[in-house]
Amino acid sequence: KHMRFLLLFSRQGKLRLQKWFTPITEREKKKIIRDMTTLVLARQPRSCNFLQWKDLKIIYKRYASLYFCLAVENQENELLALEVIHRYVELLDKYFGNVCELDIIFNFEKAYFILDEFLMGGEIQETSKQMVNRCIEASDMLQEVRYPPTPRPVLPVAQL
C-alpha cells in the first residue's frame, strides 16, 4: 500500500496502462486518471518530478512519448520512487528491445505481466533485473498459444 497506483499515458492524455494497488470504484479511477493527466501534462518542462496531490505524493517522469505517473504515500522516498519507475522502463526495454509507446499499446498485457513480476500489492517484489525477465520468458514458454511481441506495425502513411 506504499504505492497507490501507477498510470502510463501519452502526451495527449490517452491511457496506456493502469495499475491500482488499492480497491477503488470505477468512477474514482476515472476521476483520478483525469486529475493526473491534467496535473502532469500542465507541468513546466524544467519542473521537479514531484507534486503533492491530496494526501499523496505524485512522482512522474516522461520517457519519450509516455508519461509514467506513480502515486505514493506521504512518507515515501520520492527519489527512490524515481528509481522504481526507471527500473520498470528498463525491464520493458529489455523485454521489447528498444521499447517505445507502440510496443506498450499493442502488447499491453505483456506490460502488465512484467509489472506483476516487479511489483506486487504496492511493494517491490524483485530487485534483480535478470530475474524478472527470466520469469517472464519462462512464463511465455508455458503459453499454449504463443504471442511473441508483435513487431511494430507498419501503418500506411495516409492513415496516420
Partner: protein, 830 residues
C-alpha cells in the same frame, strides 16, 4: 471432435472467428473521430457478447483480452467479469494468465463475484507449476478481500516456508496484504519469519524486510520482538555496501539500492526511542552517510533515507549534524528533485533541530528565487519557520522581495506569513507599520479578508504611530485605489485619525500638507469609483461621517451623507439614512458616537476580531466585551457615592471614561472599581449577565427609530458657581421604561472648566447607564455645552431621584460638588 463441431457450427452460421487482439487494436486506432471509435467498439462488444453466450472456450481468452483493451480506452466491460473467472478455472496457462489479469482489472472486492475466485486461487496456490502458483499469489496479494484472505491465509503461510525463493518472495508480500486486510492474522506468520533474513536471494530478502516492517509498524510487541534483528540487518547492509560489483543488482555502481533503502527504513522503526538499537546502528549509518556515491539520483535516494533514519532514532549529536549537513549539500545540488526533497526534510526537522537548520538559512532563502513552483513553496514555508527575533529584518527583506515577484498562488499565504512574523518579532512599531504598508501596497489585493480587522486593531493599538500611519496610508491611496484591503484599512484610518492628517503632526517623516477638502475628495472618490467594492464603499462613507467631528467642513459631509440616503446599494443607503438622522435629530450624540476608538483588548483566543455592523457603524468588537460589569456589582465598589446616599444599597454602574484621560479619571477609577474603557454608545452584544435593557434599541435595530418625543419638558438639575446643568428627556424605543436623559453642561464664568467629570447615582430600584460625554471642557462664557447621555431603567415606575457629583478644574483649582436632583418631571418616570 468438439472443435470440429464448433467449426461446422461457425461455418453454418456464417460466423467468422473473433478477430485477433492486435487486429482489433490496429482497427480501432484508425478511427478518426470519437464517434467512429465508439461505433467500432460497440460492434466488437456485441460480437464478444454473443461469443460469451455461446460458451466458446477456444476464443474466450482472446475475447477477454480485447475487452481489457477496450476497458482501458474507457468503455464498460463488466459483462466480462464472469468470463475472467472461467478463464482462471481453465487448465490452460494462457487462459489463466489473461483470466487473472482480467480479474485484477475488472473485479474488486465490491463485487460478490470475486468470492467465486477463492476456490480457484486455492487450487492454483497448490499447483504443480510455480508460475501458476505465482499468478495466484499475485492476484491474492493485490486484490484479495478480507474473506478471501481469511480463507487462504494458511496456504500463504505454508508457501512462506517453502525453499522455492520465487514463491517465498511472493508469499511474503501476499502475507503483507493479508495482514493489512485482517490484522488479527498477523500472529500466524510469526514462526515463518524466523529464518527469512538468512536468505541469500535478494527478492526474498527485500520482501521479508517489507513483511517485518509491516509487522513492527502494527504491533509494539512485534517491534520489541524484532529488535534483536538489528545486528543482522546491520550486517546485511554492510555487505551490500562493501560488496563488489554484482551485475544482478547493480544500479550505477550501487548494489541493490532498493534493498538498502528498505533496510534503512526498518532500522529507523527499530531504533526509534530505543537507545541500544540506535547505538548498534550508529556506525553503519555514519558509513552509509559518508561513503555513498552522490553523483547520481540513486545514491542520493539512499542518502535521503539515511538522513531520515538518523533524524528519527536516538542518534548522537554528531550524526545529527552530519545529517543536516547532507541536507544542506542537497540544497546546493543542481538536481531540482534533490533540492525539493531537502527542503521537505528540513521543514520536518526545523522544529527539533532549529539551530542546525538555521545555519543553512541563506541557501534556503536563495531557493525562493528558484524557478520551480514546488521548490518555491517549500522554501517559503521553511523561511517562515526560520524567522526569529535575530534575523527578522534580513529575512523580511527577502520575503517581501519574494512577495513582490512571486506567482499569485503564493501571495495570500506569503502575506499572511509576513503579518504573523511581523507581529511576533517586529523590532519596532515603526518597522511593523512600514512592513504592513509594504504588503498592502504590493500585494494588497491578495491579502486575506480577515487581515483587515487584524490590521485595524494593530494600528489602533500603536498609539504613537497614528499620525505616521494615516499619513502613509493617505499617500498610498493617492497612488492606487484598486486594492480593496488597502483601501479599507486606509479609509478606516483616515476616518479615525483624519484630524492628525490635516494638522501635519507627523514625527516620523516629513508631514504632508493636505486640506480637509482634499481628504474628503479622496474619500468621496472611493465612493464613486468602479474599483471600490460595496464593503469598501461602506468603509468610506463611515469614514466621511466620522470626520464630521474631526473636521470643520461639516456641511460638506452632511451633503454627501444626504446624497447617499437614496443610494441603490441598500447597505450604503441604510448607513446614510442613519447618519442623516444623526445630524438632524441626535446631533448632541454625534460627538460621543464618532469618538476616537480606544485600545482594543486582544481576545483570549487570539483569533481575528469580528467587525460587527452595529447601527451602520463598522466597529471591531471583541469577543468578550469588557464593558459594563453586571448590575449586581458588590457595593464596596461604589464607596464614596454610597456613603453619600446614606448607606442605601444602590447599585452603581460605572460611567464610561472619556478617552482623553484626565487626572480626574484616575480618581474615578478608584471610586468605581475596575472600569473598562467603553466605546461609544453602540455596544456589541453583551453577555447574558448584562441587563437586557442596556441593549434595547442598540441591537440590530437602527439606533434612531422615530422616538415619540413625548414632549417631556426639560429641567435644570444644577446651577451653581456659574456651572449650569440642564436635563432634556426622551423615551427610548421600544422599551418605554427607559428614560433617556441628556445633560447639557454650560459655563457662564470667564474661565473654562477643564477636566469636567459628571457622575450620577440612582436608588436601588433603578438602573443607570452613563454614556461618554462629548468633551470634558466646558467652555467659558457659555460658548458651548458639554453633553452626555444617561439612560435610566425604571421598571417599577418609581419616582426618579438622582444624586450627582461634579468635578472640574477652574482657574487652577480643583472643584468638587455634590447635589441631589429631585425635581424630575413626572412624565419622565411615569
Amino acid at each position: 471432435m468438439r472443435c470440429l463441431l464448433s467449426f461446422f457450427v461457425c461455418v453454418w452460421q456464417n460466423m467468422p472467428a473473433p478477430i485477433r487482439l492486435r487486429e482489433l487494436i490496429r482497427t480501432i486506432r484508425t478511427a478518426r473521430t470519437q464517434a467512429e471509435e465508439r461505433e467500432m467498439i460497440q460492434k466488437e462488444c456485441a460480437a464478444i457478447r454473443s461469443s460469451f453466450r455461446e460458451e466458446d472456450n477456444t476464443y474466450r481468452c482472446r475475447n477477454v483480452a480485447k475487452l481489457l483493451y477496450m476497458h482501458m480506452l474507457g468503455y464498460p466491460a463488466h459483462f466480462g467479469q464472469l468470463e475472467c473467472l472461467k478463464l482462471i478455472a481453465s487448465q490452460k496457462f494462457t487462459d489463466k494468465r489473461i483470466g487473472y489479469l482480467g480479474a485484477m482489472l475488472l473485479l474488486d472486492e465490491r463485487q460478490d463475484v470475486h468470492l467465486l475466485m477463492t476456490n480457484c486461487i486455492k487450487n492454483d496456490l497448490n499447483h504443480s507449476t510455480q508460475y501458476v502458483q505465482g499468478l495466484a499469489l499475485c492476484t491474492l496479494g493485490c486484490m484479495g478481500s478480507s474473506e478471501m484472505c481469511r480463507d487462504l491465509a494458511g496456504e500463504v503461510e505454508k508457501l512462506l516456508k517453502t525453499s522455492n525463493s520465487y514463491l517465498r518472495k511472493k508469499a511474503a508480500l501476499c502475507a503483507v496484504h493479508v495482514i493489512r486486510k485482517v490484522p488479527e492474522l498477523m500472529e500466524m506468520f510469526l514462526p515463518a519469519t524466523k529464518n527469512l533474513l538468512s536468505e541469500k536471494n535478494h527478492g526474498v530478502l527485500h520482501t521479508s524486510v517489507v513483511l517485518l516492517t509491516e509487522m513492527c509498524e502494527r504491533s509494539p510487541d512485534m517491534l520489541a520482538h524484532f529488535r534483536k534483528l538489528v545486528p543482522q540487518l546491520v550486517r546485511i547492509l554492510k555487505n551490500l555496501i562493501m560488496s563488489g560489483y554484482s551485475p544482478e543488482h547493480d544500479v550505477s555502481g550501487i548494489s541493490d539500492p532498493f534493498l538498502q533503502v528498505r533496510i534503512l527504513r526498518l532500522l529507523r522503526i527499530l531504533g526509534k526511542g530505543d537507545d541500544d538499537s540506535s547505538e548498534a546502528m550508529n556506525d553503519i549509518l555514519a558509513q552509509v552517510a559518508t561513503n555513498t556515491e552522490t553523483s547520481k539520483n540513486v545514491g542520493n535516494a539512499i542518502l535521503y533515507e539515511t538522513v531520515l533514519t538518523i533524524m528519527d532514532i536516538k542518534s548522537e549529536s554528531g550524526l545529527r549534524v552530519l545529517a543536516i549537513n547532507i541536507l544542506g549539500r542537497f540544497l546546493l545540488n543542481n538536481d531540482k528533485n534533490i533540492r525539493y526533497v531537502a527542503l521537505t526534510s528540513l521543514l520536518k526537522t526545523v522544529q527539533t533541530d532549529h539551530n542546525a537548520v538555521q545555519r543553512h538559512r541563506s541557501t534556503i532563502v536563495d531557493c525562493l528565487k528558484d524557478l520551480d513552483v514546488s521548490i518555491k513553496r517549500r522554501a517559503m514555508e521553511l523561511s517562515f519557520a526560520l524567522v526569529n527575533g535575530n534575523n527578522i529584518r534580513g529575512m523580511m527583506k527577502e520575503l517581501l522581495y519574494f512577495l513582490d515577484s512571486c506567482d499569485p498562488e503564493f501571495k495570500a499565504d506569503c502575506a499572511s506569513g509576513v503579518f504573523l512574523a511581523a507581529e511576533k518579532y517586529a523590532p519596532s512599531k515603526r518597522w511593523h507599520i512600514d512592513t504592513i504598508m509594504r504588503v498592502l501596497t504590493t500585494a494588497g489585493s491578495y491579502v486575506r479578508d480577515d487581515s483587515v480587522p487584524n490590521l485595524i486593531q494593530l494600528i489602533t493599538n500603536s498609539v504613537e504611530m497614528h499620525a505616521y500611519t494615516v499619513q502613509r496610508l493617505y499617500k498610498a491611496l493617492l497612488d492606487d485605489i484598486s486594492q480593496q484591503p488597502l483601501v479599507q484599512v486606509a479609509s478606516w484610518c483616515i476616518g479615525e485619525y483624519g484630524d492628525l492628517l490635516i494638522s501635519g503632526q507627523c514625527e516620523e517623516e516629513e508631514p504632508i500638507q493636505v486640506t480637509e477638502d482634499e481628504v474628503l475628495d479622496v474619500l468621496e472618490g472611493l465612493l464613486v469609483s468602479n474599483l471600490s467594492s460595496p464593503v469598501t464603499r461602506g468603509y468610506s462613507l463611515t469614514a466621511i461621517m466620522k470626520l464630521s467631528t474631526r473636521f470643520s467642513s461639516v456641511n460638506r459631509i452632511k451633503k454627501v451623507v444626504s446624497i447617499y440616503g437614496s443610494s441603490i446599494d441598500v447597505e450604503l443607503q441604510q448607513r446614510a439614512v442613519e447618519y442623516n438622522a444623526l445630524f438632524k435629530k441626535y446631533d448632541h450624540m454625534r460627538p460621543a458616537l464618532l469618538e476616537r476608538m480606544p485600545i482594543m483588548e486582544k481576545t483570549a483566543s487570539n483569533g481575528p476580531t469580528e467587525i460587527v455592523q452595529t447601527n451602520g457603524e463598522a466597529e471591531p468588537s471583541v469577543v468578550e466585551p469588557k464593558h459594563l460589569p453586571p448590575v449586581g456589582q458588590p457595593a464596596s465598589q461604589g464607596n464614596d457615592l454610597l456613603d453619600l446616599l446614606g448607606g442605601n444599597d444602590v447599585p452603581v454602574i460605572p460611567t464610561t471614561m472619556p478617552t482623553k484621560p484626565a487626572s480626574a479619571g484616575g480618581e474615578l477609577l478608584d471610586l468605581l472599581g475596575d472600569l473598562s474603557l467603553g466605546g461609544p454608545a453602540p455596544a456589541p452584544p453583551a453577555p447574558a449577565s448584562q441587563p437586557p435593557f442596556l441593549l434595547d434599541g442598540l441591537s440590530s435595530q437602527p439606533l434612531f427609530n422615530d422616538i415619540a418625543a413625548a414632549g417631556i419638558p426639560p429641567m435644570t438639575a444644577y446651577n451653581k458657581n456659574g456651572l449650569k446643568i440642564d436635563f432634556t428627556f426622551e423615551r427610548a424605543n421600544p422599551n418605554p421604561n427607559v428614560a433617556v436623559i441628556t445633560i447639557h453642561a454650560s459655563n457662564s464664568t470667564e474661565a473654562d472648566m477643564t477636566d469636567f467629570v459628571f457622575q450620577a447615582a440612582v436608588p436601588k430600584t433603578f438602573q443607570l447607564q452613563l454614556l461618554s460625554p462629548s468633551s470634558n471642557v466646558v467652555p467659558a462664557l457659555n460658548q458651548g455645552t458639554v453633553t452626555q447621555v444617561i439612560r435610566v431603567l425604571n421598571q417599577q415606575k418609581q419616582q426618579l431621584r438622582m444624586r450627582i457629583k461634579l468635578t472640574y478644574i477652574h482657574k487652577g483649582s480643583a472643584v468638587q460638588d455634590l447635589a441631589e436632583v429631585n425635581n424630575f418631571p413626572p412624565q419622565s418616570w411615569q
